[in-house]
């Protein structure tokens, strides 16, 4: 049951027995909960219901989290205590500074552009005949995996050598050629952070649908009386947007921006699929994985995870506050 299953029937059997085991555990919890009577019964039932959850969270989240913080002060193998050296590396080493710089570029660009596109599109298609279809088109990238999105865009950016008998198969390079330019090795060129910016485009393509969906719901929630009153006053479309739409969805915009910022800080799949973090495109979450698995530097990986944690905290706290204010 806990060994490796290699054929499909074996896998199925293992999955079913795991589910049965889980059901049995739940059964035991519920059995004892139903037996409890008397004054203190509420206390006991409460603890019983929470027992599996608390166990899982303690072993799978709290302990590992604390352990990682501890390990971030140790060397690559996790043997020798080296103080804050890993953090020094992150803040001084050339490659690591590129990683940090890239992450900042990502976090500055993605939320703003994705939110802007989402807002504009939500307004443009609002109440139009094809609204739901139009929205589904933008939203679909959000439903597929980031690996798939990475492959889709890698194909867009594909480069073929610039020779008379060789044709471009990537759309972007073909467009460059159609306009008389030369094809560019898009994902390898880091001049002006070109390749990082092209990866950012992919993430915006994925996230714009999220921004659009939430902002669209917020726009539809603006009371009609306000809109009608403004219309009777003969307000111009631009001031309608600036004075009514924008202020009404302001908190939602903040929530969308912060949510996207959190997602962007943790971006991993896109970078890993498209460049593997090579050619100066790595970001913190990707560097974490590279250090852990490829470079076998457990201490530095742990420190990177902690840095990610520290960067996420203020944004999440702000996000939760906004959500609560709005609710």
């Amino acid at each position: 049951m806990f060994s490796t299953a290699s054929t499909t029937p074996e896998k199925l059997l293992q999955m079913l027995s795991a589910l049965l085991l889980f059901a049995a555990v739940l059964g035991v919890v519920l059995f004892f909960a139903s037996r409890v009577r008397g004054k203190r019964s509420d206390n006991l039932v409460g603890y019983l219901y929470l027992l599996p959850v608390v166990l899982l969270l303690a072993v799978g989240l709290v302990y590992p989290g604390l352990r990682t913080i501890y390990e971030s002060f140790f060397d690559a193998q996790g043997n020798a205590f080296i103080g804050v050296d890993n953090y020094k590396t992150i803040l001084t080493d050339g490659d690591q500074l590129t990683v940090l710089g890239n992450t900042i570029v990502w976090v500055l660009i993605v939320p703003v552009v994705a939110t802007a596109v989402g807002l504009i599109y939500a307004i443009l298609v609002d109440k139009s005949r094809f609204e739901s279809f139009a929205k589904a088109l933008i939203f679909l990238p959000m439903a597929i995996s980031m690996v798939a999105a990475g492959v889709i865009w890698k194909f867009m950016y594909e480069y073929r050598v610039d020779q008379p008998n060789v044709k471009q198969i990537g759309l972007i390079n073909q467009i460059l050629v159609w306009f008389g330019g030369k094809p560019v090795q898009l994902l390898i060129t880091d001049t002006g952070k070109l390749n990082t910016l092209l990866l950012i485009v992919v993430f915006i393509w994925i996230q714009a649908g999220f921004a659009m969906t939430i902002l669209s719901a917020a726009i539809k929630a603006i009371p009609d009386e306000i809109v009608e009153a403004a219309r009777l006053d003969g307000v111009s479309p631009w001031s309608m947007f600036v004075k009514i739409t924008l202020p009404s969805v302001r908190t939602t915009i903040v929530v969308v921006l912060t949510t996207l910022a959190i997602g962007t800080l943790k971006v991993f799949d896109v970078v890993r699929t498209m460049t593997g973090g090579n050619f100066k495109t790595s970001v913190i979450a990707n560097e974490f994985y590279s250090q852990l698995i490829r470079a076998d530097n457990q201490g530095l990986a742990a420190a990177l995870a902690v840095v990610l944690f520290i960067l996420v905290i203020p944004i999440i706290v702000y996000n939760i506050r906004q959500v609560r204010q709005e609710a």
Binding site: L30, D42, D126, V255
Partner: protein, 302 residues
């Protein structure tokens, strides 16, 4: 599509034009439509190009752009046959693995979270508030922070390389958000219902099953679908815990491997990509409403 996010007030019946509609009307409609069409095309074209390519012969994909299809249409299913070939890409096995990973990774956290959410909302026990805040606060932990020690733990227990690390990791990571969302939903249920059941002599077990569970179904569906897609589309947890072989690795992992080792095998990548997204896209199209709701509510996860 009706979108009913958890964060906003119910929609008002749209009798009059909304602010945005008015703004759009006055912004001379043709330009607005043009802008919308441009965005829609930009967002659709990349996927369309790869989808079209997945049906073109291997040599055509490598030698000419997919737009040549319109002047020289050649269609084949060979690329799809090739990714299911068990001697090379073997995508079928990975597809099965993805399902095996997903089903318990959805059912386990969902049922545990439902029990916990009920306890937090309707049972009075000592230390409830502190515990709830603690669970709530755990949402901020990025999963990267937990991966290294979990690797060690799973190796020590002797379940490394099986499905268990994936089931346990995904289930655990899902709990804080699931509990928070279900709790928000459960506490909206009128107290009278529970009190009436208690007066009738029902205990917490029968109240949970007879009163709560039926009412909870929409919330469970929303979170279940969200969690299913999250696990199906995951790469990081799979990379860290599933290893390289085809015994437990999910479909996203094999697709990612294809990009690394055969960067030019576009015929395999094209068809492989669409095999991998068929499940999420189907779920999205069929259960859009639930999916969007889960996504809106679950946006802070990870």
């Amino acid at each position: 599509m009706t979108v009913t996010p958890l964060t906003t007030t119910p929609e008002v019946t749209p009798v009059q034009l909304s602010a945005a509609a008015v703004a759009k009307k006055r912004l001379s409609s043709p330009w607005a439509s043009l802008a919308a069409i441009v965005i829609a095309v930009l967002w659709t074209l990349p996927t369309f190009g790869l989808l079209l390519s997945s049906f073109r012969p291997e040599l055509d994909i490598k030698r000419t752009g997919w737009w040549t299809f319109f002047t020289d249409p050649q269609v084949t299913l060979d690329n799809y046959r090739a990714v299911f070939d068990s001697d090379s890409v073997n995508l079928g096995t990975y597809f099965v693995n993805s399902l095996m990973i997903c089903i318990p990774s959805v059912l386990i956290p969902l049922s545990l979270a439902a029990l916990a959410a009920y306890a937090f909302a309707w049972i009075n026990f000592r230390g409830k508030n502190i515990l709830f805040v603690a669970v709530f606060a755990l949402q901020i932990v990025p999963l990267q922070v937990t991966l290294i020690p979990l690797l060690t733990i799973f190796a020590k227990v002797g379940i490394a390389g099986t499905f268990w690390p994936l089931w346990l990791a995904h289930s655990t990571f899902a709990l804080p958000l699931a509990i928070y969302l279900l709790h928000n939903f459960i506490k909206e249920i009128p107290a009278g219902l529970i009190e009436a059941a208690r007066v009738d002599g029902a205990g917490h077990v029968s109240i949970f099953f007879r009163v709560m569970l039926p009412l909870l179904t929409p919330a469970l569906a929303a979170f279940g679908i969200f969690q299913f897609l999250w696990v199906w589309n995951d790469l990081l947890v799979a990379l860290v815990f599933a290893g390289g072989g085809d015994t437990v690795a999910p479909i996203t992992l094999q697709l990612a491997n294809l990009t690394g080792t055969r960067g030019t095998a576009w015929h395999l990548l094209a068809s492989g990509t669409f095999v991998s997204i068929i499940v999420p896209v189907t779920v999205f199209l069929l259960l859009q409403r639930y999916f969007v709701r889960g996504l809106l509510a679950g946006s802070v996860k990870g």
